[in-house]
Symmetry: C2
Subunit: 512 residues, 2 copies
Amino acid sequence: MARERRGGGRRGKAGRSGGGISQLPWSNVVNTAPKVELLSPDQLDQLHATSMRILSEAGIRVMGDNVMDLFENAGAIVDRDTKTIRIDESIVMEALKTVPKTFTLTARNPAKRIALGGNNVNFGLVAGPPNVHDCINGRRPGNYEDYCNFIKLAHHFNAIHLIGNQVTAPQEMPANNRHLDTYNANLTYSDLSFHATAIGRGRAMDGINMMAISRGISVEEMRHDPGVITIISVNSPRLFDDAMGDGLIAMAEHGQPVTITPFTLMGAMTPVTLPAALAQQNAEALFGVTLTQLVNPGTPVMYGSFTSNVDMKSGAPAFGTPENSKANMISGQLCRRYGIPYRTSNANASNVVDLQAAYETMMATWGAVLGGANLVYHAAGWLEGGLTASYEKLVMDVEILQNMMEFLKPLEFNQDELGLDTIKDVPTGGHFFGTDHTMERYETAFYAPMLSDWQNHGAWEAAGSKTALTRATEIWQQALREYEAPEMDPAIREELDAYMAKRKEDIGTDEP
Amino acid sequence: MARERRGGGRRGKAGRSGGGISQLPWSNVVNTAPKVELLSPDQLDQLHATSMRILSEAGIRVMGDNVMDLFENAGAIVDRDTKTIRIDESIVMEALKTVPKTFTLTARNPAKRIALGGNNVNFGLVAGPPNVHDCINGRRPGNYEDYCNFIKLAHHFNAIHLIGNQVTAPQEMPANNRHLDTYNANLTYSDLSFHATAIGRGRAMDGINMMAISRGISVEEMRHDPGVITIISVNSPRLFDDAMGDGLIAMAEHGQPVTITPFTLMGAMTPVTLPAALAQQNAEALFGVTLTQLVNPGTPVMYGSFTSNVDMKSGAPAFGTPENSKANMISGQLCRRYGIPYRTSNANASNVVDLQAAYETMMATWGAVLGGANLVYHAAGWLEGGLTASYEKLVMDVEILQNMMEFLKPLEFNQDELGLDTIKDVPTGGHFFGTDHTMERYETAFYAPMLSDWQNHGAWEAAGSKTALTRATEIWQQALREYEAPEMDPAIREELDAYMAKRKEDIGTDEP
């Protein structure tokens, strides 16, 4: 009864604001599409062999003694002067034995648990932009209010499965403790899992602790049922930063998943040729994957791909390019070969939410999905090569993701859906609008778009000739109006607040 | 020497107008991507069996006695009162034996011969819109000047392989003979193959005759080396118009290829369920394919798919939807099963060149390419559900097609491209910009976009903050400025003019 009343209230509210935003229900998306294998088995072997030679002959430079110790114990050749670690294939292969093929991330709302690996595909909110933009207020530096708005939108739109690293930096807050406020916003305004920053041990531990508090479990319990994930970006070519190494170790020690993503823009951080870029990406990613297993065998880990090209005229990064789509697919082949869950992105390089932003994003999304990505990071809101989080782009991206989710729904059918009887019943040149077969199904037969407008030109004009960009502005405003915060137990609220206060006091003016 | 001078002149001209539009060279595109098979073999069997029952139990209504005669002779059950033809599977299978798996279309420029079938994929200019639009002059009824401009753009942009049925209707011209002027424009302003209108025998024959004249060969010679193609749109459900039947017969008699495209919008002309829509499409397409082989065994024929859904709220057609992409892929499975070359489209339902137009077009393009389409019709310029030919949309579409062409380039590599040596040479955390490996390749390493702008935000702003739509307007204007008409032998010019004059006199005020 109480539930019914609440449901009614929701409908009532949606009704007042124009019927509510049409969107797909929250779901765990299964990638039913066949994976595209662009490389032959022999070519894949050649890539792998090149990566192994990069690791054994050139090696990876690391900044931390602890990382060198771990690899030395595993039999690597460690040059302490140059901080370079050379490993042979056997060390990598030994590590791969303990990598989980699939793992889960459990949010404070267990109904929003996601699986990473196998045929699961999840979409993440854009992460990291210093700026935000919307078509009403323009471009501005990241701030806490916009940060919270984006978290609300991620909570509102069911196509978004995960909150990435800071959707925008709240630049008005102290850099050494604002991660506490952003974690808190993630936990307050959404009930999704999120990315814990791994710049140093402190930020990673805060993410782990705060997620455990919000779930009402201990950090020890969360070790076996992870709740946060991090991304270690390799400083390509072949360099692991110290702070990132510490974050990785903290996460792995506590059984929380780590993604290893080399930052491999072809022509800049790698050679210009795609095979070389992928061989280098592969070497760097496997090095990080190996490290997670040396820290704690069985640590959930993802193989991250961010290989794209640069504009050779300006040196600026390009995304959603043909090369980027190929890289997305081939990286998936590598991940399946090694049995590692796969993270990539569907970025674009446009400076504005325009045609380019749309077709580049769609191009990259197909590459990611056909590549078998388990996590498509930056999937909602990415603009300006990642320097701006865009409200309108987020809306368009949700539409693109929903199109893909609908495309991926398995096609099962019976005799009734083959429709022979209704086809025989309708006269030649007639129509099916009023048939029972149609009437029984028409409301749910097709994907109902959120952003696309399918009216004819006259009706569209009469409705104000609104472009999709104008409609996107209306939709994010409506979403913020319709947003409902997930409930939180007051005791947990109190515990989170106390944790944050204590940590801010502890950190003071130091790094966490 | 003369050639060199001409080449130099071209470069000079391009230089004056800002370096010329960057585009890929004209090429026959091979679809190297694995084809996506959405249906299991068993599901494909069920679709096929349903189609066969539609043909044998419900039948197809035709308007022409000649069509009924042909099918009666082949053993079909023909009901002359209701003009309904029922055929069983054996008649279809017999016809399929003579369908060529691949055929070619030879333009007046033999270097622009295209192959339809196998792994070949070709992109066609939008066909049929009554209106045109550009961002400078707005929306207006089709007219001859715009018609010619679009043909010039189709000639200029190498991604366009074929001129479809009238890119826009020149509405100021007499409806009964304007096909002569549009054929003439196709042959004058481009050197591509084109679609001959099959509304009645006369229009089809004019297309055949004028292409033969322009190639300097006889109609008899062209029978063995086709130059024009037509599309027969089935008036779904299950109705073949008389005029279309006559056009089909004229084309088939002369060995010119025919495409059979049922107009199957789910929920309107077919049941709302995708399997039923495809079963009906398949029945209608196979009926038309069978007819071509009854007229003239061995006639090149394509299986056309145009299955998409309607907006169940307004009844308006929707394109670039998830259902449309699935239909594009499954239709390809059917074509491969039957060994028939495959035509589909990559349409969108937007009323304006906006985000929706971009992501829907890209969505449909992936469906078409992964479905193994040999001809993607309406691939450049389609807007407003096909009611408007758009200049800016054409430019964006060329960019989308070029992205796809580049994606489809096979990935072959050697040790040098695996780049081990250069990776070992560049220090950790360094960059590859200046390496020999990069310098030797950077100019051609990546796809250079025509429309996309990859500058960083500051440089983009300094260059005028132009959106892709604004840049598209500049590009089509530049393309028209840079356009160079293909040469034509004066004798052929004279012969074409004489043919047109004679035909206009013959037609008078009658239908052709």
